[in-house]
């Protein structure tokens, strides 16, 4: 083969090859274009499946301590999400509909007495049926929280105007405040835009996972009865104990230590704060953050030995370490915990509250395994 000649010698061959290649390319692109709707739908399906998988991991890491790994709620802490109540499934829908229709017919002009008697009989049947169904829900009615079979939609009960999706999503974004009649600890804001740890796409993943619990028409009363904790309906205005109006501590550890050295902390107030500030939500059992118990011992015997910590603190005391961890939580992380804790406590806590928290934490210093 002579490599020094034009690869395709004859002009007409070049024209044919070029034309055929061009037409072949057009044919392939056309074929791709025809299949695009199917390809795009398949991609969306696949992506939403993988999104749910990532959401499941996020849920297991961040949410399951309070909402239960199965999403059925934890008694006294947080409500179920894996429940027909959240998705507004009405187990009495068919009965209520027929009762209402019969009611209209009964009241309408021209309904004969014979028909009215029939309607009454049917109504009695339906009410009996309704009572039977409600009786089946007894476990759910006895469970913690408010569940009313005749008002079975969480969104309707709250007067929420949007969909379940944006209800879940917005709740994740800004969390939930607490109140005297609500949960002992508020739910923190999870979105980065609201000061939390998660990105928007992670919130989408979590929302997709939570919505994937919806069985729509397949919900059964047995599903309802498995719920451990139903939501509560807030009736009081929120009383958030976090904000006192006093000067806040800021993030200068040395200055905080000087200020609180003159203050006497109160264990009781510290314990209340620990719960209202939602510390316990993550630090209970050491699931999301280091365990409450043994904080002091761990700080003095382990953390202070780390040169990285020594470089950060103005003085080498457990107190300094804990104060630093509260106001600057991301500067030093202990494996396997991630940067999840709100970094805003410097702007919300007063000096007295800081002192209360410290004395409470010190009092929780039982040796741990």
């Amino acid at each position: 083969m002579n490599l020094q000649r034009l690869l395709i010698q004859k002009m007409e061959h070049r024209i044919i090859v070029g034309t055929v290649a061009f037409l072949a390319m057009l044919a392939i692109v056309g074929w791709i274009a025809i299949n695009e709707p199917g390809r795009m739908a398949a991609f969306s399906r696949q992506y939403s499946g993988r999104s749910i998988e990532r959401g499941a991991i996020l849920f297991s890491n961040n949410c399951s301590t309070c909402h239960g790994i199965d999403g059925l709620g934890v008694i006294g802490r947080a409500p179920a999400l894996n429940t027909p109540y959240l998705f507004g499934h009405d187990f009495l829908a068919d009965i209520s509909l027929e009762l209402r229709t019969l009611g209209f017919e009964y009241d309408a002009e021209g309904t004969t007495d014979v028909r009215k008697a029939e309607i009454d009989a049917r109504r009695a049947e339906l009410e009996a049926e309704q009572a039977t169904r409600v009786a089946q829900m007894q476990t759910a009615l006895d469970a913690q929280g408010d569940y009313d079979p005749t008002a079975p939609g969480r969104l309707q009960n709250l007067g929420w105007g949007g969909t379940v999706r944006n209800y879940v999503y917005t709740t994740l974004v800004h969390g939930r405040p607490n109140s005297a009649t609500y949960w002992p600890q508020p739910m923190g804001a999870w979105a980065q835009i609201a000061g939390g740890p998660l990105r928007n796409d992670q919130l989408e993943d979590l929302t997709n996972y939570i919505l994937n619990w919806d069985k729509s028409e397949e919900w059964t009363i047995a599903d309802l009865n498995r719920v451990r904790q139903f939501p509560r309906t807030p009736v009081d205005g929120a009383q958030f104990a976090g904000l006192t109006g006093e000067p806040t501590v800021g993030t200068d550890v040395a200055a905080i230590l000087t200020e609180i050295s003159t203050l006497q902390g109160n264990i009781q107030s510290g314990e209340t704060l620990y719960s209202t500030l939602a510390c316990a939500g993550c630090h209970n059992g050491g699931a999301v953050g280091p365990a409450t118990e043994g904080t002091w011992t761990r700080a003095s015997e382990l953390r202070l030995q780390d040169p990285a910590v020594q470089a950060l603190l103005p003085e080498l005391t457990a107190q300094a370490y804990v104060v630093h961890s509260i106001v600057l939580p991301y500067e030093y992380l202990v494996a396997p915990y991630g940067p999840v804790m709100p970094a805003t406590f410097g702007t919300t806590l007063s000096y007295q509250q800081m002192a209360d928290l410290l004395i409470y934490l010190q009092s929780q210093d039982q040796p741990i395994q």
């Binding site: 390319m25 795009m40 297991s60």
Partner: protein
């Protein structure tokens, strides 16, 4: 007499008749557009005939037209074939335009912000007709351009075409190759996925090492727009990718090509006497005219090359898209883009400044000044033994460094982490955890063990599993807990997996792929039996939601002494076990879990 007060087309019609007048009009328009060739000239050219009028109209577009004034009107016959150029320079130019066109398409759907960049990618994939197609073309074109440009440089080196008077052409070529690499690299970040973020983090951290410290720190701040890559960094990389680097690339392409034309394409070394440069003196019988031969050839190659790319992205290549970028999660096995692996490999040799900054810079400068070092007149291989040796040494070094840059080289992970990683890995770098592609129907809830495959033949597997169950439930003689209790407590507290009992069952023979994976798991434990002493593994499948399963991988082994991540052996060649104060072995547990959705569609990696 004219029907209008000036000579017009109507007069033409009156004079010549409609058909002739229209033809003449069209002919004139064509001649103006082609800057000198009328329909007859084009027809002759395409039929391969000699031009019928003088002066030769086929030279006219080169003299009068804008586009063709950049191209020579004829080439030496010896440079129009495959050898010596392999059309690599032409292909590089082709890819510059190809990338510009596909890039502009993608720009329409892209916003350079971490908030939405990844969502834009999803939109391109899921809601833009031909979106994936264009993205694949752009990505494939980028990889191809890096290869082509590199080969172009290699060819120029091998035929010694950089020699006088082409030294400066070579220097602009080195700048172009650098720009091409950087263009490809700056595009890497834009999808804002894990692959992008970590590849670029590795690359940009080299900038930070530039001495002295004040320069490195500030260069890094300039490039990344902050200590870490965030919104500013993404915007900067985007502007570099779509504006600054392409502008430089076009400028240097112009200079480079101008120099090529000025000096002529260098001929194959054997066709010239030593020390001569006859490229500009082309004898009449050696001329291949641009019009029609080279032009039709180039148009044909545009069609053929584009067809090849289209075929590749239709059946063989898809641009990767990994999970959303997450600065908190460093994936195992993160590497720089493949064409920068040699720098990553060099970095493993030691000093960051020396190998990350000085070494590449020295190499770049060395390449640029090379024509001034190698000034020997001969371009023939026999006379260039030293020069070719230097070239091959550098090439071998880059290949070896690139191999060293691979994640597998020189990075020690503990055996349990590695084994679990092989099972659970998210799709990345053309690999996926072996558990993920198992058909959803095969994932029946249950607890399976690697012990099953210690049975000698299949009929005994049930017996082996039952014996294993008994072993799990056996309470230690010294009053300790049963193994099952330990495992359950571990899963409950650290993995959020509340199980009531640990009842292992054999993998059903109908679940063929699950069976293969568990068997593969057993095999991997066996390979690592020194570090994972007496190890066994569990695969626990649980139902989470109707179309979602959870899979836990558990490994339990007896701890052995490790030194720098390597197992310590005694004289008998057995691994040294770590013992507690009672002289018992210390059991270790590790576990990891993933979720699998029915629609997730993971594919086994090609060749896996």
């Amino acid at each position: 007499m004219s029907v209008l007060p000036f000579p017009s087309f109507l007069d033409d019609i009156k004079e010549k008749g409609l058909k002739r007048a229209v033809f003449d009009g069209v002919n004139e328009v064509v001649e103006r557009i082609t800057a000198g060739m009328n329909l007859q000239d084009i027809r002759e050219a395409l039929r391969g005939e000699a031009p019928s009028r003088k002066p030769n109209p086929r030279l006219q577009p080169h003299a009068d037209g804008f586009w063709l004034h950049m191209r020579p009107s004829y080439f030496h016959k010896s440079v129009t074939g495959v050898y010596p150029e392999f059309r690599l320079g032409w292909l590089s130019t082709y890819f510059v335009f190809f990338e510009t066109i596909t890039g502009i398409f993608l720009m329409v759907f892209y916003t350079p912000s971490p908030e939405v960049a990844y969502a834009n990618m999803l939109t391109i994939m899921s809601n833009v007709p031909l979106g994936q197609f264009m993205r694949d073309l752009h990505r494939l074109g980028a990889e191809a351009m890096v290869i082509i440009v590199t080969l172009h440089m290699l060819r120029t080196f091998l035929t010694a075409s950089y020699k006088k008077p082409r030294e400066f052409t070579w220097a602009t070529g080195i700048i172009l190759i650098f720009l091409t690499y950087f263009l490809s690299f700056s595009g890497y970040l834009l999808p804002w996925d894990q692959l992008a973020l970590w590849a670029v983090t590795i690359g940009a951290s080299m900038v930070e090492a530039a001495p002295p410290e004040i320069v490195g720190t500030n260069l890094n701040l300039l490039l990344r727009g902050g200590p870490d890559i965030g919104a500013n960094g993404l915007l900067r990389f985007y502007l570099l990718h779509v504006l600054a680097v392409p502008a430089l690339l076009f400028m240097f392409t112009g200079v480079h090509y101008y120099k090529v034309i000025i000096h002529g394409h260098s001929l194959p070394p054997k066709e010239e006497n030593i020390g001569e440069d006859t490229a500009k003196r082309v004898p009449l019988d050696k001329r291949v005219y641009f019009i029609p031969d080279v032009l039709t050839s180039e148009i044909m190659w545009i069609a053929v090359t584009t067809l090849i790319l289209v075929v590749l992205v239709t059946w063989f290549f898809h641009a990767p898209l990994e999970n959303h970028a997450d600065p908190q999660v460093t994936p195992l096995g993160t590497t720089a883009p493949w064409y920068f692996l040699w720098v990553q490999g060099a970095l493993k040799l030691g000093d960051k400044v020396l190998w990350g900054i000085i070494f590449p810079t020295v190499l770049l400068v060395f390449f640029i000044i090379w024509p001034y070092i190698d000034t020997a007149p001969s371009r023939r291989w026999a006379h260039r033994r030293i020069q070719l040796t230097v070239g091959f040494v550098i090439m071998s070094m880059l290949v070896i460094f690139s191999y060293m840059g691979l994640a597998e080289f020189g990075v020690v992970n503990s055996a349990d982490t590695t084994v679990m990683y092989h099972l659970t890995k998210e799709p990345a770098h053309n690999q996926v955890g072996t558990l993920r592609p198992i058909p959803f129907e095969e994932l029946q809830a249950g607890i399976y063990t690697t012990r099953q495959f210690e049975a000698l033949d299949e009929s005994e597997q049930t017996t082996v599993v039952n014996a294993f169950n008994a072993e799990l439930e056996m309470v230690n003689t010294d009053g300790g807990r049963a193994i099952a209790e330990d495992v359950l407590a571990y899963l409950g507290t650290s993995q959020n997996l509340p199980l009531s009992s640990l009842e292992v069952v054999p993998v059903s023979s109908s679940s063929r792929e699950l069976r293969e994976v568990v068997e593969g798991f057993a095999h991997e434990l066996e390979i690592n039996e020194n570090e994972l002493h007496n190890a066994w593994g569990l695969i626990i499948v649980t139902d989470v939601q109707d179309d979602l399963k959870r899979i836990d991988v558990v490994i339990r082994w007896e701890d052995v002494e490790l030194e720098n991540g390597k197992v310590v052996f005694d004289e008998a060649g057995e691994p040294v076990l770590r013992l507690d104060e009672n002289g018992n072995t210390i059991p270790r547990l590790n576990s990891q879990h993933i979720y699998i959705h029915r629609d997730s569609q993971y594919f086994a990696a090609p060749g896996a």
